[in-house]
Symmetry: D2
Subunit: 307 residues, 4 copies
């Protein structure tokens, strides 16, 4: 039995296991996301050797939301070096993912780029350095995904822009501390558009396979990021990528990963594969219930994790 066939069987059995007893609630704070079918489930693995295996709704696009934060960070690392560290930390936050408390105690320096405040600072960096940050970022994501049809969902972006008072509080607080240089509306426009990108599990797995492949595209071998920067992105994902469940996820799954309130999770086994999973029902921490469980089964059944 080939690796691909074995993996296909594993994914099929996981698919059955995690969809038999659905729990959790779909994120409902914007109408565009609330109306998604809660029982969707997709999962897709792309290995660094180029194998591609998926199950369920793995070709259906959904709103990647916070998963975009990893890609924003990657894009920023092409432009800036260690100076980013003076404006965003790399430590876990130990607090709900959008808390203002630590941000105030630490005088406008977000704990890490995986929380809203940190990703907004990364957007501020991109707004400052790029001529047309939105289209530049979209091109970058398309290149990693190997797909030119990926798009922003402007209605999602606009909905979030209009009701996002908390993020507006965060960016104003950081601006008060001098850690936002650009225009608030322009920075938030980039941030919400980046979150609104719609991708399928297949496209996300392809995108994240670059992080599993030391920074080079799996398909062509083209280097996008240095191995050192790739390692650092994986480290930040692992430490800070799962909101207030980073520890629980390390404990049960053991892979660097990033989740989004759209129900997606993208994870990386460095040197081996990337995996994306999607199921819209969320637990109380904002992570996909079935997605979390599916990744736990994957590392249990393959016997592989970073630990």
């Amino acid at each position: 039995m080939t690796e691909t066939t074995a993996l296909q069987d594993t994914l099929a059995s996981i698919h059955v296991a995690v969809t038999s007893d659905p729990t959790g609630e779909v994120a409902s704070y914007i109408p565009e996301m609330a109306c998604v079918n809660p029982d969707k489930f997709g999962m897709h693995v792309t290995t660094v050797g180029g194998n591609d295996v998926g199950v369920g709704n793995n070709n259906e696009r959904f709103s990647i939301q916070s998963i975009t934060k990893v890609l924003l960070l990657a894009r920023a690392k092409l432009e800036v070096g260690s100076e980013l560290k003076e404006r965003v930390g790399v430590e876990p936050s130990g607090d709900p993912f959008n808390s203002l408390v630590q941000l105030e105690y630490e005088r406008g320096i977000p704990r890490n780029p995986m929380i809203n405040a940190g990703a907004i600072v990364v957007c501020d960096v991109l707004v400052e350095l790029l001529d047309d940050p939105k289209s530049d970022y979209l091109s970058f994501v398309r290149k990693l995904a190997g797909c030119e049809t990926i798009e922003f969902d402007s209605s999602v972006a606009l909905s979030e822009l209009l009701c996002g008072y908390r993020n507006r509080a965060i960016i104003n607080l950081m601006k008060g501390f001098g850690n936002i240089r650009g225009d608030i509306d322009e920075v938030l426009d980039l941030y919400y558009h980046a979150c609104s990108i719609a991708m399928s599990c297949r496209e996300l797995a392809r995108t994240f396979s670059t992080f599993a492949n030391a920074g080079s595209l799996v398909e062509t071998g083209e280097r996008i990021l240095s191995p050192r920067r790739t390692k650092r992105i994986n480290a930040v994902m692992q430490t800070c990528g799962m909101y207030d469940e980073a520890g629980e996820f390390a404990f049960r799954v053991g892979l660097p990963a990033k989740s989004g309130v759209g129900g997606g999770i993208a994870a990386v086994d460095p040197g081996h594969y990337a995996v994306a999973v999607w199921s819209p029902r969320l637990n109380s921490k904002g992570n996909s219930v079935a997605g979390f469980r599916a990744l736990e089964l994957l590392t249990d059944q393959t016997g592989r994790s970073i630990f």
Copy 2:
């Protein structure tokens, strides 16, 4: 050139690099630790294949202090299963290592077993379940280290017991919340004795090689912990082991590790090796300056990390 020779060369070059320009201060809150020679440096690697390589003062014993927390957790996991999770979390604390703030907000449940509060709860578990917890724990450490001469340093334990008002505040707060069952003095006695254990880098590397070897002793193959529990211990170490520098350490080194204020750090590359390093000068976060740097050079030069 054999693996051993290459590794010996790597350690030798690291030794030179990290000791050329010493910075940082020795922990001075108890006299027994303040009088250590600040310029000591030792480093030792034990591979899962049984290779043993060290440099500098790698055979000299020092106070392992908080490194003991990993071993306390391992010992407790031999006795209890998931019920431990109701009394100690696995999430990073996002706060200085001895803060009472989160402990109060979270009603006496420590964030993880790598902070003082969490390790004290682990000691409470051991006090409840073991007939003679101190001698049982010492036997456990000796077995992992493969050395019967390892001892508590009672003068260090006593010093810390007498001046440890903050830990006494922590345990009383947890007792008030019902998360300590045993006698406060007995629990603290175990805790401080466990911290006072003196070991060399060679002994620590041997001890932690069990975590690199999926829970089996490298020397004999005897299973101590299941692979699943070993993976979970490594995950907790990685997420929470370096005080408020867990993210920075993941970013720069990329290995599960635990440090102590005695200047030691023990780290694990699962499936490959364990490494212990010792240098008493600490940075402002309480981690060994030269030890941190030595591990960064090790993963840079070997090109291996979990990310």
Copy 3:
């Protein structure tokens, strides 16, 4: 109609109003206090002119608990001057009455002497300066109350000492910051005995009439405290005396006051009178429901408050 007769009528009408529909729960954390009759109600006014008027169970003794903090502060002010300010603040805490959070942020300096931490520091001062602090303090209270039969209730003190893990956490934390000089057990012994004193509303009103009378005993005119110190004690009571309801109490009643979990409240209208009220049922903030309401009616009906 004389002032006394009018006041008697006022108290009688208040008595009826506040006892008609009892709500709230008796403090139950120690058995000695849990078994009190929840429907007791007493109220007593002592004017600076020497008038004495009471209703209900105004002659029955109850555990004064935190009301003792005002008297501890008064006793300490006989011994120390402004140096107390370096060890205890005078600002409201803005947090539940026994929180450790602010204490940690402010490095062991309690916000004010009306919270547990602050009263414990005041006890530490008395332990340091007095030969026999417990009997000295009891004599002081007896003198203010004009009654030699007032006693500690040692069974209450012992119960609280045994279950008081949070206060033990607080004192250890402060000791860790260097803000406790004496022996922890001796300081807590004084604190819990001071809280355990049993007094009637009549005795409390007499005691607090000294604060209404610029520091002199109403009966004899003997000066106990200077007018300046008396004013400052009233100010601290007004700002910090009602736990997390200081503002609500100022808003609705408008008198400096101190409450205790035994259900007592003592209040002062400087230059006019002191009043004590007792009813064991407490609201969620730990203040007597009927006592609070009785004082609101008193200032409404007399048209007198400090505002």
Copy 4:
């Protein structure tokens, strides 16, 4: 010697005492306030009997800034009853005057109307209920001050509006919690205009004399507020009016008061007089150094305070 003459002598001696050794810094965050002469000092007393006594620059106008919060509250109390309490508390904040921490923990309900967040909610109430809130508010202040020439300083308001990122963070956070109903820009426009009003000590003392006079204008006897609401405004001022020095101010001065970063303080001795003092140099808590000291000397020398 008449009361007026005696008071004139008292103010003259205070004037000499507090201006002999100037310390503190002028607020400099907006250019319009930074360029004020730091050595200005004015003080003015208006008694409920109609006496008017002042010294120094008591007729020179300055930016009343946060003193306006008392008047905003008074204006709102003409429109709304107890429902305001569901949207703004009356408890001291125990934190710096513009902290977001408590606001987040308490889910967008400000602790009291004397901090920025609370005053902004009061403005939101006025924006909702009044046809032309800015001109209505200005008319209200003019009526209390008995002076039709009082004006907003639009350049100050505009400066603060442009650099006020923290207040914009605060209002967005509250909007996210549902505690702001109006348009953010319109509410902030009212808030900053209200803060920008320029008044002299004489005008402020006249304005606050209504709070000393149970809610009626001293000059004409016209009732503005009920005695009950006036008492409550004085209580809130006393508990919360002096930023993080409410306790220190009660301790040393003992009058309900409100300060502003323009260097003004207005205080009330209910039933007796109102006093306004102005000196632009501020202490580290944002209160006027000489103003604070002048009020302390006033209550010391007259022997009158609420305690």
